[in-house]
């Protein structure tokens, strides 16, 4: 196992986070902009004009900067890529109907679908790898040391291919993925850390793109999952899309403008839809007010009760999995001691009401747990699991997570039916041994089709892989006895080994995963393999430290033009100038931590100035100027809110 710290990563549909165990408590590691959430958005920077010669690769940005590009250059941005992970061509095609990005023209059936992004093409794991690399860098920046190992969370209901794709993404990003942890289970770990709890808890995890329900039993520090269920195609995205469709329809009906052919405009409406959704969690009414390309305004009130009626079918889809999970765990709602809410969508009051009804909470004088930030709790739990794996900490040494496989594993039997070999909700690792024979004299091959799912017919289940047992010694039909061992590991990923028992010969298996990249493909997609090299790492730290110094120096440079500057005492101005000169000198050196320290000193010296500036900005706005002109007057300080934010590091 790699030396150094192990971080916990929540690779989310909408946002991603990285956390680690600081002493006895998990904490989220902020990015360079000071924010904890990294939007799961990846963008190609605009092509320079004139276009450079062949071989030019545009810079790839991740997070808030990429999200800002969504309206300007939507064809160069991809988001919600988690929905495409481990999916086949047809599924991706269906999925993409709702998104502005599209498949590359030359994608062939059977290969991992590639998405066209500007002039480049990427598979879903590659896009995820860019997000993971950003998180890795944020952590390295924070620790001032390389980070090479991580625990990554996945929806509990992710199938084998989706899990494998996530692991592949980690490898491409230069991370050894020590464990994939199910998101609801991670949340339970985060909640269970500070209390020695006993009892049965349900984790209701309604995120941006996926829904999971897990029921766990806690005893003596052991978190034993009893059952899990969910829908990997259900989340806040679906609510956004509902609002988006209604808005687009009304804009067309009332203003005769069809925005669907204008991706930038669609993104602007989508943004307004998301804002309305968020507002409706606290307000009884939200407003759409969107300027259309023809200058008209689309304005509309959305009362909360209308919104709730609208989203009811989406929310109702979470109820079935909850009931099934209870049945599978063999318990009634009354036997659930506590309910934990995870995921941004659980902020919606109608979701809370549904949960309350499902688990008879208020009827029993109970409330769901929401103490931990629903956006952060999964990453915090991943950090706890990372600490368990590192095995060096007192606070987690008694904790152990026993998770289950969400879907039954089966093999296609005669007539296309499924013979189940590992039932869903079996504790993992789990194994099954099956024996196969030949049907024809002298037959040397046996083909096996492995599927995942609960349906009776193989065709209705998810095809996992096809195996060819080869090199069977020629014998009479029915005589060979090939033992095949199926093993689902602690990440929920399947491994297969086979042996011919009569001859004692190891049968060769050629595994052809139905979806997924080959080892060689993953190898070839590893991002900047030099990323881990020590020399390069130091270089990168230096560049980043200098960039941060540059940002604050530019802001300080413009400071005297601001009205707020006049409000400072001479002593304060002197301190700023001294700190500025110190940073300018230090920046010439090559020691990243010295530059960071000087940046921090200047940041402290300018803190009061930054506060004054915010106050003046507000009063300027009140005096009748718009925020836009106010911010123009103040340079970047308002539109780039983090220019003055403290640079956090250790």
């Amino acid at each position: 196992m790699a030396e150094g710290r192990v971080v916990g990563i929540d690779l989310g549909t909408t946002n991603s986070l990285v956390a680690y165990m600081q002493g006895e408590a998990p904490v989220v590691i902020p990015g360079a902009d000071g924010g904890n959430l990294v939007p799961s958005v990846v963008a190609l920077d605009p092509m320079p004009n004139p276009v450079p010669p062949d071989g030019f690769r545009p810079t790839i940005t991740v997070g808030n900067t990429a999200r800002r590009a969504l309206i300007e250059t939507p064809e160069r941005v991809i988001y919600s890529v988690k929905r495409l992970m481990g999916r086949g061509l047809e599924e991706v095609q269906a999925e993409l109907k709702l998104f502005p990005f599209h498949l590359a023209d030359d994608v062939e059936a059977g290969e991992v679908p590639r998405i066209q992004l500007g002039e480049m093409k990427f598979t879903a794991p590659e896009i995820s790898a860019y997000i993971l690399r950003q998180l890795k860098r944020n952590a390295e920046r924070y620790f001032g040391a390389p980070v090479t190992a991580a625990v990554i969370t996945v929806p509990a209901y992710f199938n084998d291919a989706q899990r494998q794709a996530t692991k592949d993404a980690g490898r491409m990003a230069g991370l050894e993925v020590l464990r994939l942890v199910n998101e609801p289970t991670a949340a339970a770990l985060a909640y269970g850390l500070d209390r020695a709890k006993e009892g049965t808890i349900a984790v209701y995890d309604f995120g941006g793109g996926t829904f999971d329900i897990s029921i766990l039993k806690l005893r003596d520090g052991i978190f034993e999952v009893q059952s899990t269920n969910g829908d990997t195609h259900l989340g806040g995205d679906d609510i956004d899309n509902l609002l988006l469709m209604i808005a687009l329809g009304e804009i067309f009906a009332e203003h005769g403008v069809d925005l669907r052919s204008n991706p930038g405009a669609v993104q602007a409406v989508r943004k307004a839809a998301i804002e309305a959704k968020i507002a409706l969690s606290t307000e009884l009414e939200a407003r759409f007010d969107i300027e259309l390309p023809n200058g008209d305004r689309y304005q509309r009130e959305i009362p909360r009760d209308v919104f709730e009626m609208l989203i009811e079918p989406v929310l109702e889809r979470t109820a079935g999995p909850c009931r099934q999970a209870l049945t599978d765990a063999g318990i009634t709602p009354e036997q659930i001691d506590e309910v934990v809410l995870v995921g941004g969508s659980t902020r919606i009051p109608a979701v809370r009401k549904l949960v309350d009804d499902l688990f008879h909470l208020s009827a029993r004088g109970k409330k769901p747990h929401t103490e931990l930030n629903p956006d952060e709790v999964v990453a915090l739990g991943a950090a706890v699991q990372a600490d368990i794996l590192a095995g060096e900490s007192k606070s987690t040494e008694q904790m152990l997570l026993l998770d289950v496989t969400p879907l039954s594993l089966g093999i296609e039997a005669l007539g296309g039916t499924v013979a189940r070999i590992i039932q869903r909700n079996s504790t993992i690792p789990a194994s099954a041994t099956e024996h196969f024979t030949t049907g024809v004299d002298g037959q040397t091959n046996v083909a096996i089709h492995v599927v995942q799912g609960e349906r009776e017919l193989a065709a209705d289940c998810r095809s996992l892989a096809r195996f060819d047992l080869k090199g069977i010694p020629p014998m009479s039909a029915g005589l060979p006895r090939i033992e095949v061992k199926f093993l689902i590991d602690a990440d929920g990923i399947l491994h297969v080994t086979a042996r011919e028992q009569r001859s004692g010969k190891e049968a060769q298996i050629e595994v052809k995963a139905t979806y997924g990249l080959t080892d060689e493909q993953v190898e070839s997609m590893i991002l900047d393999s030099f990323d881990n090299a020590e020399a390069d790492f130091a270089k990168r730290l230096l560049i980043e430290a200098r960039n941060e110094a540059e940002t604050i120096l530019t802001a300080v440079e413009k400071a005297p033009q601001s009205a707020a500057w006049a409000l400072l005492t001479e002593d304060e101005k002197l301190k700023i100038n001294v700190a500025r000169d110190y940073l300018v000198t230090t920046k010439l050196g090559v020691d990243p931590s010295a530059i960071r320290e000087a940046t921090l000193i200047l940041d402290h010296a300018t803190r009061r100035f930054a506060e004054l500036m915010m106050e003046t900005a507000v009063s300027t706005a009140i005096r009748g100027k718009t925020m836009d002109t106010a911010s123009e007057e103040m340079g970047e300080a308002v539109t780039a809110p983090h220019a003055m934010a403290p640079a956090e590091f250790k």
Binding site: L389, L400, A413, A419, P429, S431, F436
Partner: protein, 230 residues
């Protein structure tokens, strides 16, 4: 803690080279994890094959062993230890899943005792055949006809209160028969646990019959519930 079977093959520990029985998960000498042991699911828990088990003790032992064997405990271990941790934990989980459930436990024990007719085919040629108990043959045929009628009625949206009532009645009846089988099975468990090599074969035969009957009845109850609940 672990029963050393006389028949167990002695092997040498990969780490300290001291010999031990191949039915143990850890070397008794140096405590290092060992490759998956031979022996059955009962041996994994260090208990004698019994059909009446103390489930609470079983769970505690499962937790205790999980803490020592789970791959989470071997994240920084050698590659072979990692591999054995995975294989051993899979064995432990399979054993626990089988033993904690009374029906699976009974089926497993009967298989160990070679009391079930060898599966004619396993793997992809396997089929779940459940023989119809002779005394239920006629009624079950009738019930299946009713179920089919009800499914058709549901599809066409027709309401048939008489059929509905008849199915409700069947549900009560077959649920009661199922419960009766469980009582009978429990009695046989006691007989088996208290028995010896001479008495057990006849008990086993009865249990095979009861399990067949139970499987058939529980499928019927499931089908009726499905149709009524639809």
């Amino acid at each position: 803690m672990f029963k050393v079977l006389d028949s167990a093959v002695p092997v040498a520990c990969w780490s300290c080279s001291v010999g031990h029985s191949d039915s143990t998960l850890f070397c008794p000498h140096c405590s290092k994890i060992q490759p998956p042991p031979g022996g059955d699911y009962f041996t994994v828990f260090g208990i004698d094959p019994h059909l009446n088990l103390d489930l609470h003790a079983l769970e505690s032992e499962f937790h205790r062993l999980s803490r020592r064997l789970h791959p989470d405990r071997f994240a920084r271990a050698l590659d072979n230890e990692k591999e054995w941790s995975l294989a051993d934990t899979a064995l432990l989980n399979d054993a626990y899943r089988t033993l904690k459930d009374p029906i699976r436990r009974t089926e497993y024990l009967l298989k160990l005792e070679d009391a079930v007719p060898a599966e004619s085919a396993t793997g992809k040629d396997r089929k779940d055949v459940s023989r119809v108990p002779a005394d239920l043959l006629e009624e079950a045929f009738e019930l299946n006809m009713q179920l089919e009628e009800m499914r058709i009625a549901r599809k066409t949206g027709e309401d048939d209160p008489a059929l509905q009532a008849s199915l409700e009645e069947a549900k009560t009846k077959y649920s009661a028969l199922l419960a009766a089988v469980d009582v009978d099975l429990r009695n046989e468990w006691r007989a088996w646990d208290a028995g010896n090599e001479a008495t057990r074969p006849s008990v086993q035969k009865k249990m095979v019959g009861l399990l067949d009957r139970r499987r058939y009845l529980s499928n019927l109850v499931r089908d009726v519930n499905e149709v009524l609940g639809a």
